[in-house]
């Protein structure tokens, strides 16, 4: 590998690490929005559950998946509207990878709520 290639290899490795992404102000801003979307999704779900007479905050896999898709869909719509997918792309992050940690956030929040509400 010649000097130029070695220099370029160093540059390639210099792109944002996953740890740096998780602690970045941009990810934290997405996390805040996501939590608000989670609250909205949970409230809508609780209202629907009350109408049909089932426990409003219990953890049901199918329902959680629907809410999660709504949350991610809304967040992606916001990101694309503001062209921030270009920003993520420029630092080498696919949308799916950048937002993957939010799946665990959703599961953790929903599981915690179900336990508290039991």
């Amino acid at each position: 590998m010649d000097t130029t290639r070695r220099r370029e290899r160093t540059q390639i490795q210099a792109h944002v690490s996953f740890g740096a992404w998780l602690s970045s102000p941009l990810f934290l801003s997405y996390l805040r929005r996501f939590v608000l979307l989670w609250i909205a999704g949970k409230l809508a779900n609780a209202a629907t559950a009350s109408v049909i007479g089932i426990s409003p905050f219990s953890f049901r896999a199918g329902t959680e998946l629907v809410i999660l898709l709504f949350e991610l869909g809304a967040l992606i719509a916001f990101i694309k509207r503001d062209n921030e997918d270009i920003l993520l792309g420029n630092v080498g992050l696919r949308l799916s990878v950048a937002l993957a940690p939010l799946v665990f956030v959703h599961l953790a929040l929903s599981a915690a709520l179900a336990m508290v509400a039991r």
Partner: protein, 226 residues
């Protein structure tokens, strides 16, 4: 001349029955500023979108270091050293330049703030910046990523003379560090001052222009056979 790092070859695209690109070619070579010049609607932006995977071509090839890419994707190319500046604002409006720097490599340029003269507003939210300040901030961030190739769609658009000079200086600095720069513009006088190589695009077709710094404008600009 170095071999191109990024090239779009014989790119074609038709939308709604209208030909947007008809065998367009342009490339970016290390250490040089290459301009793609053409009127609004000539296909420059579409060509750039195809290079970075924002749009899929009907035909032709995008090549990275000589190898054809089946499907170019910005995050993948960015990890290989590409920086893309589209023709629309793309930084997070609710964050400042300093906030964005958390996404840059730790050994990124310490001097982009100085090169682009953005020191006065690095702590302000991007959404509060003027168009010129925003453009400089976007380019500063991109150059702090230390790109090997920069694809810039109209980086001078809407800038006042001082900011134009700062952007021109930044492009030269990046090229001097060995990066390949490909940018679009329709201001031919600016291109004459800034670029080392030139492709001219008209009606979705492109050609390389020799002697553009010295030859009279009418000999090469918009002198396409129709």
């Amino acid at each position: 001349m170095n071999a191109p790092i990024l090239a779009g070859d014989s790119i074609t695209l038709a939308l709604g029955g209208r030909t947007i690109l008809a065998s367009a070619y342009a490339d970016a070579v290390p250490g040089a500023i290459t301009a793609l010049v053409g009127r609004s609607g000539s296909g420059k932006t579409t060509f750039f979108k195809i290079l970075v995977g924002e749009r899929v071509a009907d035909g032709g090839q995008v090549r990275w270091r000589g190898a054809p890419l089946t499907r170019p994707r910005l995050p993948v190319l960015a990890r290989e050293g590409l920086f893309y500046h589209p023709d629309r604002a793309w930084l997070a409006r609710h964050l400042s330049f300093n906030d964005h720097m958390a996404l840059c490599p730790r050994d990124g340029w310490a001097d982009v703030v100085e090169v682009f003269g953005i020191g006065g507003w690095t702590g302000r939210r991007v959404g509060t910046l003027s168009e010129g300040e925003l453009r400089l901030t976007e380019l500063s961030f991109g150059f702090a990523l230390q790109p090997v190739v920069a694809v810039l769609d109209e980086p001078f658009r809407g800038l006042e003379p001082l900011h134009r000079e700062q952007v021109g200086r930044g492009l030269r600095e990046l090229a001097d560090r060995g990066a390949a720069i490909l940018y679009a513009d329709h201001d031919v006088e600016s291109v004459r001052r800034t670029a080392d190589r030139l492709f001219s695009m008209e009606n979705g077709m492109s050609r390389i222009v020799d002697g553009f710094k010295t030859r009279p404008l009418h000999e090469w600009y918009h002198a396409w056979p129709h």
